[in-house]
């Protein structure tokens, strides 16, 4: 059996999955240290099902990235860019918030190296310059370093050679290579590598803490962390790429909604207390955003789910005269402040009860609301959700819409743009289920010249690389399949070059002994 845990800002949810069956679920408050909240939730789950044999524990948490937001526990980190004589006007860390830059002791270095768009070297790797930089880092007590070469996604050779040189001089310094951290876009990829470098220590400590706590509970099963794309990473990988957890919460929620409803292509509408998140599912995974993502004020190009958030939830305030709905919300105080619960604040939940969409609290408290007000409010709610659904749709055609979250009582039986409207059972723990059912993935991205080989050969080569990475990460080889192929022609290259990216996923291999 699998245990799935999702650590949210308010609640820590845990579920026990027996194959495809939900065998138990728990919702407890999140704790400041995160770990004890996880342990409490799993302990309670085990009390419900004492005989459970646990094969794996999957945890979704954004705890590592909270360390960034609070600028604490960050390792002293340097950045080495391999680029000279190019790119000098914008040195590493150029657009970082000064506080965060100070918190990592930000040391930028630039040395000769890097490549042109077509693979030629800008200059050869300046080994001597790099050695001097590493010696200075040691004197300054640097613990981690990000290495970023211009066009390293086309040719990572300078980055890997730089890693070997750093390891030789300063084996105690953790090295993050940019080509493993993202795609084209020098500053964004360099920033991503730097964020992972400075979070390495705190990620390692958190993971070790969870592993030790699991042992105390008598659980010897392997631990996996959820990542942004809805797949799992083992603990070693998670310690190297902690930033890949930043949006695991919304991703797990959408994956859980897909699982519970059986819908693989459609729209998920997650209505919470203060806001509604709307995202698109493609082949059971959230569609990813193409725009730059800012994390703690740092621009990166991580892929996160492409979602529209609107300030509308079950606790949203309603004002009759003049007419206004939101953006303020009573949030978690709904159970005290809403009219139906004996409070004196008119909320969207009160309108839903008055309209007969839901029946809880004391209906009599909203019996006096004007019919016109209720009708207007429900129509406004529906219109706002329909607009958000339309914004995330890929085309004009109607698609299935899955409603999850406690606030989904605000919506009726139909939405414009929806071919069908589904409200799966257990939607309240969709996020923890999303963690528990996650598969293991592998990605490969390379630039191919289509003059020497055909397009099919390039895709096949990249696919076998992605499949091998998925298996290395713990996937059962018999279940691995390619789920995403992206080809971007590099039109400016004379040799008809194309960048190919392939993602493969498979079920977690259980019988295989852990390496």
């Amino acid at each position: 059996m699998f245990v799935g845990v999702d650590v949210g800002g308010t609640n820590t949810d845990a579920v026990l999955m027996d194959g495809n069956r939900l065998a138990g679920s728990v919702k407890l408050p999140t704790t400041a240290d995160v770990t004890s909240g996880i342990v409490n939730a799993i302990a309670e789950l085990l009390m419900q099902s004492p005989a459970a044999g646990i094969d794996a524990v999957m945890v979704g948490t954004t705890h590592f990235t909270n360390a960034l937001l609070e600028s604490r526990d960050l390792a002293p980190t340097a950045v080495v860019r391999l680029s000279l004589p190019a790119t000098q006007l914008l040195p590493p860390l150029v657009d970082w918030p000064p506080e965060l830059r100070a918190a990592i002791g930000g040391q930028p270095y630039m040395v000769g190296g890097g490549n042109e768009f077509d693979g030629r070297e800008i200059s050869s790797l300046d080994r001597q310059g790099l050695r001097l930089a590493v010696q200075e880092m040691r004197r300054q007590g640097i613990r981690a370093v990000a290495v970023c070469g211009v066009f390293s996604p086309v040719d990572p050779a300078h980055e890997t050679e730089a890693e070997a040189i750093i390891n030789e001089i300063a084996p105690e310094i953790r090295v993050c290579l940019s080509y493993e951290n993202g795609r084209m876009g020098l500053l964004e990829r360099e920033n991503a590598a730097t964020l992972n470098a400075c979070l390495g220590d705190v990620a390692q400590r958190t993971i070790t803490g969870i592993e030790e706590a699991l042992k105390k509970l008598g659980i010897n099963a392997p631990l996996f962390m959820s990542q942004n794309d809805g797949t799992l990473m083992d603990t070693e990988f998670a310690a190297r790429f902690p930033v890949l957890t930043i949006s695991s919460g919304p991703t797990n929620s959408m994956r859980g909604a897909a699982y519970l409803s059986g819908i693989t292509d459609g729209i998920v509408v997650d209505v919470g207390g203060t806001s509604t998140d709307v995202g698109a599912l493609v082949k059971g995974f959230p569609r990813e955003s193409a725009v730059a993502v800012h994390l703690a004020g740092v621009r990166t190009n991580f892929r996160i789910p492409d979602m529209v958030s609107i300030a509308l939830g079950g606790g949203t305030l309603v004002n009759a005269e003049p007419w206004q709905m939101g953006p303020e919300s009573v949030g978690y105080r709904l159970a005290q402040e809403a009219l139906v619960f004996g409070g004196d604040t008119l909320t969207t939940t009160d309108l839903a009860v008055a309209a007969g969409y839901a029946d809880f609290g004391n209906r009599a408290m909203v019996a006096g609301l004007e019919r016109e007000l209720v009708t207007r409010g429900m129509a406004d709610i529906r219109h706002r959700v329909e607009t958000a659904v339309d914004q995330v749709k890929l085309s004009r055609a109607d698609v299935p819409v899955v409603l999850v979250g406690g606030g989904s009582i605000l919506l009726g039986d139909a939405l414009v743009g929806a071919s069908e409207l589904l409200r799966p059972d257990n939607a309240g723990v969709a996020n923890a289920i999303g963690a528990a059912i996650a598969q293991v993935g592998g990605q490969m991205e390379r630039v191919y010249s289509l003059e020497s080989g055909g397009r099919e050969e390039a895709v096949a080569d990249c696919s076998s690389g992605a499949i091998a990475r998925a298996v290395t990460a713990g996937a059962d080889p018999d279940t691995v399949e390619v789920v995403e192929v992206e080809e971007v022609p590099l039109t400016y290259l004379p040799s008809n070059a194309t960048r190919v990216r392939v993602k493969a996923v498979g079920d977690l291999a259980l019988s295989r002994p852990r390496p």
Partner: protein, 359 residues
């Protein structure tokens, strides 16, 4: 005269994005580079065309290359090196610089070179908008020679194109050189006189970009309508408003070509607009009927925030408003239209000037 300081860079990026008519690429890197240059060398003096001294020697600088490469090998100080190269070749020192193209991220290239060289910039450019090719500049349409010109990379290489038989040849040779240099080069054209600048440049475009951006920011901060703020700053009109329903995009011969379909909302409900583009927006039709063509400006902005939306950011569901602005007068003469009208892009549509109500 006014000073281009760090504070005006964000408004200039918004305004240049609007004037970029769908092309011009990602403004982030250019804005950041200009910020660093101004922090290092100080603000840049901007003077109106009529303030240019009679004996001035004005050099046009700009970037040339592939935007997709520029996000990875970010541009450096090539524009300054190109400036020095053309000065050495012609034996003349520049006394002021002028932008090649106000639309899109090219608008800041001149500020970076001017900051480093300590020279003023003329408040004008060679397009008053964005166009895809080097030779499509009002300077060259009205007889300013495009050669000699210098092209420089970030490594210290520079090339002089001494003479070409047509401006189009200059584009071909410059493009080939740029690819060898690694696709993010800058160029500088031999100096112009004050008379040439006043006669052939599109005037007051840097301040127009700044004012457009400032108007959008202010309207946004004060919760007012960004679209009327834009139209109040630059006379034009709303051509259409709706949501993007289809984007047919293909890349041919290095240009992003295609068509964008928008389904009308509110006042335009039941109608459909289709915009053909080649990097920039070329021709807009409502239900098949042409409502605006090049060289008039066809600009897409987000309906709520007034943020310019480039072609690469277009996708299904986006709410956009399409604005039309009359082309600068230099483009609407017979010789201007020959270089920039619908026929230049292969359309047999006649150019019919966009009508804008006064006030």
């Amino acid at each position: 005269m006014w000073q281009a300081t760090e504070e005006v860079l964000a408004p200039i990026a918004i305004g240049a994005g609007i004037l970029g008519t769908g092309g011009g690429g990602n403004p982030y890197i250019g804005q950041l580079r200009a910020r660093e240059a101004i922090r290092r060398w100080g603000p840049v003096t901007v003077m109106a065309p009529e303030e240019v001294p009679e004996d001035a020697r004005v050099v046009c600088v700009g970037g040339i290359g592939a935007p997709t490469v520029g996000i990875e090998k970010v541009r450096d100080l090539q524009s300054y090196h190109a400036l020095r190269a053309i000065e050495d070749y012609t034996g003349e020192r520049a006394t002021a610089l002028i932008s090649n193209e106000i639309g899109g991220s090219n608008s800041v290239e001149v500020l970076i070179a001017a900051a480093q060289a300590g020279l003023p910039v003329v408040d004008a450019d060679g397009m008053g908008r964005a166009f895809p090719e080097f030779q499509m500049k009002t300077f060259f349409v009205y007889g300013v020679p495009c050669c000699p010109m210098a092209i420089a990379d970030e490594k210290g290489n520079s090339v002089i194109i001494r003479e070409t038989i047509t401006p189009h040849w200059a584009e071909r040779l410059a493009r080939a050189t740029t690819i060898q240099m690694g696709c993010v080069a800058c160029y500088a054209v031999a100096p112009m006189s004050a008379e040439q600048v006043r006669r052939t440049a599109v005037p007051n475009t840097l301040s127009l970009a700044r004012d457009l951006g400032t108007a959008v920011q202010r309207a946004r901060d004060e919760g007012e309508d960004t679209l009327s703020a834009i139209l109040h700053t630059c006379p034009g009109r709303v051509l259409f408003s709706g949501k993007v329903v289809d984007l047919d995009r293909r890349t041919t011969a290095g240009f992003a070509r295609g068509a964008l379909s928008i389904e009308g909302l509110d006042a335009y409900s039941g109608q459909q607009m289709v915009i053909d583009f080649q990097n920039e927006n070329l021709i807009a039709r409502i239900d098949g009927e042409v409502v605006c063509t090049v060289p008039d400006l066809i600009c897409a902005v987000a309906s709520d925030l007034g943020e310019p939306v480039t072609t690469e950011l277009m996708r299904y569901g986006l709410r956009v408003t399409i604005l039309g602005f009359p082309a600068p007068e230099l483009w609407t003469t017979p010789e201007g239209l020959e270089a920039s009208g619908p026929a230049h892009f292969g359309y047999d549509t006649e150019y019919s000037p966009l009508k804008v109500q006064a006030g």
